[in-house]
């Protein structure tokens, strides 16, 4: 995103912030469909480890991705207090398993910074599309499309 883009797109957005593996992440609230408590998922055989399984979301089968595991921070310890954020990306609806939901943050797009180039670092970096600061804390904006595995990736 260039400097010019940011000024032209200088509009307010709302972010849903949540805790994953002790870090604070955020999602554009427009992609969030609902937030629900943790229910035990039915595991899928031969699925990647970060795919926790499937749950029944009012009659549809919803795939649950363990976001902490996906971001390379180790599988989450699931308990009653975990939360599933149901997000809709493109044509898929997926449930993200996170530690807790924190807040809704209204910010201006100009307040978003590109993440520093850390291509040497582990894969986590590619899952963050932008960074922003709220009350002195760094919020990582999740690149949701990148966080969800593609078929080829799974096959690999």
């Amino acid at each position: 995103m260039s400097e010019q883009d940011k000024t032209t797109l200088s509009t307010g957005i709302e972010l849903l912030t949540f805790q994953v593996g002790g870090q604070e992440y955020a999602l554009d609230i427009m992609s969030v469909r609902e937030i629900r408590g943790w229910t035990k998922a039915t595991p899928l055989p031969h699925a990647p480890s970060f795919v926790r399984g499937v749950i029944n979301l009012r009659g549809t089968v919803l795939t649950i991705v363990d976001l902490a595991d996906r971001l390379g921070m180790g599988a989450a310890q699931t308990s009653e207090r975990n939360v599933i954020i149901v997000v809709h990306t493109g044509k898929e609806t997926v449930g993200l398993l996170v530690d807790a939901v924190s807040d809704i943050l209204a910010i201006n797009t100009t307040d978003l910074q590109d993440p520093p180039d850390m291509s040497a670092a582990e894969c986590e970096e590619s899952f963050v599309s932008a960074l922003t600061i709220s009350e002195g804390r760094m919020i990582r904006v999740l690149a949701i499309a990148a966080a969800l595995p593609t078929e080829s990736e799974e096959a690999a």
């Binding site: 899928l44 699925a47 609806t93």
Partner: protein, 750 residues
């Protein structure tokens, strides 16, 4: 503008939907003709179908389609009026023509160019049939059919004011004006017996593509007619609504036919017009009609200039008598049908509603929810430990019954007769038999068997392939057939029926049967089976389903496109079906496809493995067994087999195959499901427990992560949890392809 464009698109779309139906009835009629069961009404139906297509096509300016339909129609009109006598060769050409017509309709729909060469060749063939009648017919055509196509415009909401003059003038008065101004008016001299017919079409008559002129012509065929047209209702051109009906006719008909046959002519417009038929005797002769054109009102005279270009003079017998219309009041709009109709149910189709498939799918989904919900309630009732005679249990039983009824009814909505599919196959037969130069006919049975719509759609490809195979490999060459004392014409039979909750579709031919020696030899050559294996007949037959198998020694145009029976088999299995072969040397080969009635609900066995609840489709399970440690025999370091009735069957632990747990070592008292594989071999899957056997609602899995291997779909259990529906055959074959079983299994099958 958009207001005007949208309805046209919609109308166009509905025209093509109608075309499909018309093509279907066209096929039906031709089939009846081919079977020698046709009567005049059959030919009428065929004619009408082509005619309606032509009419609609004319309205949308689909010239190619109009041109072809016109020619086809001309021939059939000859057939109808018995000026052309057809034999089966001609009917075969009609079939081809109907195929082309279908092609043209599709080409027009998708805006794609049609195969001109084919079209022309059929057109030529049709002209040959038209032959000697051509001259006469052409004349009649010109006057007879041209306006009809145009008259159909009436049925379509024109963009009246913005339309060009051309279409504006193509309305019904144009035709009648000409009819009126027609010169001939020989008055029948002696009305010994006859009828007086008052005929006033409703607007709907035109909307449905019927044409009064045609009916009048038909009347003319059964006797002498004296026609007068009542134009008194006709409005001036500026007030004229081209979709409305303004004209009425009074016809005096002198004929020997009885009233029923007169009514027959109006049979298919009976609901679309005011019709009064009354017998007349000599005393009630109509007054002699006048010849002057005076009754042509001034309004009408506006029309002809344009109309004459489209409407050539009408046959002379249709004369006019506007001066004097002794209209007898009577209330006979529809009479009880004559008995000729009783054996033709197709005449009066039951009223139907066209519904968006999405809405039905939504209903199906909701009913699925209902089934799940009902399962939840019954579970809570069971958990609550109520006495079995309590009101709630009784109510629940009733509720379950209702749910099942609703489910059945909803599934019936999705069900469609396989007829359309079979008709497509008859085309495949025609095309493929022509390609390999064999004479093959298709016999169908049970084409009213209803099958889920999706199943029908997804069956088309496998069936096409099987039919082609039957024609190419199944049916022998003509001289071989004659040598074997068979009729030169081969027969491929398509049969559909319901059997014990499943749909059975059989494709059989009366050909030479499977050449097992050759099949086995090829399989050995290709390394599909070990050299010198001894296989049973069924096993050899099933080799046809192996990937990479093709028996065609010479690759023909038809088969040998790299798509084998294995693809047929896998697409049928994807539908939850099975396919089996029976073959009798010299007698033919029969493929039997067995399919579930619906794709939305499945009979499953609920099992438990590694504390997970899973569902295995019942149709995959051949039987269930309980093991003892002794019955499990080790084979190599990691594999085990069990002995089932003297056959060794590989044993797999479902839990470890799914990655839920480490492989078991102790199989004492273990429960196994014996899975029938596609190639007829079996495999045994160890499970922890069998819980239940019940219907489950199939829920698709998201494809975010691709389809997990071994899992077909998911379902929701009574407690609201999701259980995976396994694909046991996939599990077994992936375990085999993993290499740990492949070798052993091959020997076992041998």
């Amino acid at each position: 503008m958009t207001d005007e464009v949208d309805p046209m698109i919609e109308i166009r779309a509905s025209f093509f939907v109608e075309c499909e139906e018309l093509l279907e009835s066209l096929q039906d009629g031709l089939q009846l003709m081919d079977d020698g069961q046709s009567d005049d009404e059959t030919i009428n139906v065929v004619f009408r179908a082509i005619h309606s297509i032509k009419g609609g096509a004319g309205a949308f300016g689909l010239e190619e389609l109009v041109r072809f339909a016109h020619q086809f129609e001309s021939v059939l009109d000859g057939v109808r009026s018995h000026t052309i006598l057809v034999d089966r060769t001609d009917i075969a050409i009609f079939f081809q023509a109907s195929d082309i017509l279908a092609d043209l309709v599709r080409a027009a729909r998708d805006d794609e160019p049609a195969d001109q060469e084919k079209v022309q060749s059929i057109l030529d063939k049709l002209s040959v049939i038209l032959g000697d009648n051509a001259q006469e017919e052409d004349e009649v055509d010109a006057s007879d059919f041209q306006p009809m196509g145009i008259a159909l415009d009436l049925g379509l909401p024109e963009l009246s004011d913005n339309e060009s003059v051309d279409t504006d003038t193509q309305h019904e008065p144009a035709i009648t004006t000409d009819a009126i101004s027609a010169p001939g008016n020989e008055k029948p001299e002696h009305f010994l017996e006859g009828f007086k017919i008052f005929f006033q079409p409703d607007s709907s008559l035109y909307e449905t593509g019927n044409e009064p002129l045609h009916l009048l012509k038909l009347l003319r065929e059964i006797g002498e007619v004296d026609v007068s047209c009542d134009t008194s209702n006709l409005k001036s051109l500026s007030e004229l609504e081209e979709e409305k009906s303004y004209l009425a006719w009074t016809i005096y008909l002198a004929t020997d036919e009885d009233e029923a046959s007169v009514r027959d002519i109006f049979d298919f417009v009976a609901d679309l017009c005011k019709l009064d038929i009354s017998p007349i005797s000599n005393s009630t002769l109509p007054p002699s009609n006048k010849t002057d054109d005076a009754p042509l009102s001034s309004e009408l005279s506006i029309v002809p200039t344009a109309s004459e270009t489209v409407v050539p003079p009408a046959p002379p017998q249709i004369s006019q008598n506007t001066a004097d219309l002794p209209v007898r009041k009577s209330t006979v709009p529809t009479l009880p049908k004559t008995n000729t109709d009783n054996n033709k149910p197709s005449n009066k189709p039951r009223p139907t509603v066209r519904v968006d498939l999405e809405r039905i799918d939504r209903l199906v989904n909701l009913v699925g929810e209902l089934v799940i919900n009902q399962a939840m309630i019954s579970q809570s009732v069971t958990d609550a430990d109520l006495p079995s005679n309590s009101a709630i249990s009784a109510g629940l039983d009733e509720f379950m019954q209702l749910t099942r009824d609703i489910q059945d009814s909803v599934m019936m909505i999705r069900a469609q007769p396989v007829k359309s599919l079979f008709q497509r196959m008859s085309r495949i037969i025609r095309e493929s038999s022509a390609m390999v130069g064999k004479s093959v006919c298709l016999k169908t049975d049970g084409e009213n068997t209803e099958v889920d719509k999706t199943v029908i759609e997804r069956l088309a490809d496998p069936l096409t392939h099987m039919i082609r195979n039957a024609v190419d490999h199944g049916i022998e060459k003509e001289e071989d057939r004659l040598n074997a004392d068979k009729p030169a014409e081969g027969i491929v039979t398509l049969m559909a029926s319901h059997r014990s909750g499943r749909v059975i579709i059989e494709v059989s031919d009366d050909g030479a049967g499977i050449n097992r020696e050759r099949v086995l030899q090829i399989a050995m050559d290709k390394g599909l089976v070990a050299e010198n294996s001894q296989l049973s007949d069924t096993e050899i037959d099933n080799l046809l389903f192996l990937p990479g198998f093709s028996t065609a020694s010479e690759v023909s145009d038809l088969s040998g496109r790299g798509v084998g029976m294995d693809v047929v088999k896998s697409s049928i299995i994807a539908l939850g079906g099975r396919v089996t072969i029976q073959s009798e040397p010299g007698q033919g080969t029969k493929f039997t496809i067995s399919l579930p009635l619906t794709l939305a609900v499945l009979d499953g066995m609920v099992i438990e493995v590694a504390k997970q609840i899973l569902v295995v489709p019942l149709n995959a399970i051949a039987e269930t067994l309980t093991l003892t440690q002794e019955s499990v025999l080790p084979l190599g370091p990691n594999n085990r087999v069990i002995k089932v009735r003297d056959v060794f069957v590989p044993l797999l632990d479902l839990g470890s195959e799914l990655g839920f747990r480490a492989p078991l070592n102790n199989f004492d008292n273990a429960v196994v499901l014996l899975i029938s594989q596609e190639n007829g071999t079996q495999a045994a899957l160890v499970v922890d427990a069998i819980q239940d056997q019940r219907q489950v609602v199939i829920k698709g899995l998201q494809n975010t992560f691709g389809r997990p291997s071994g899992v077909a779909a998911a379902t929701i259990l009574g407690d609201g949890k999701i259980a995976l529906i396994l694909d046991p055959i996939d599990i077994v074959s992936s375990a085999e392809s993993a290499g740990n079983l492949a070798q052993n299994n091959l020997q076992l099958t041998g």
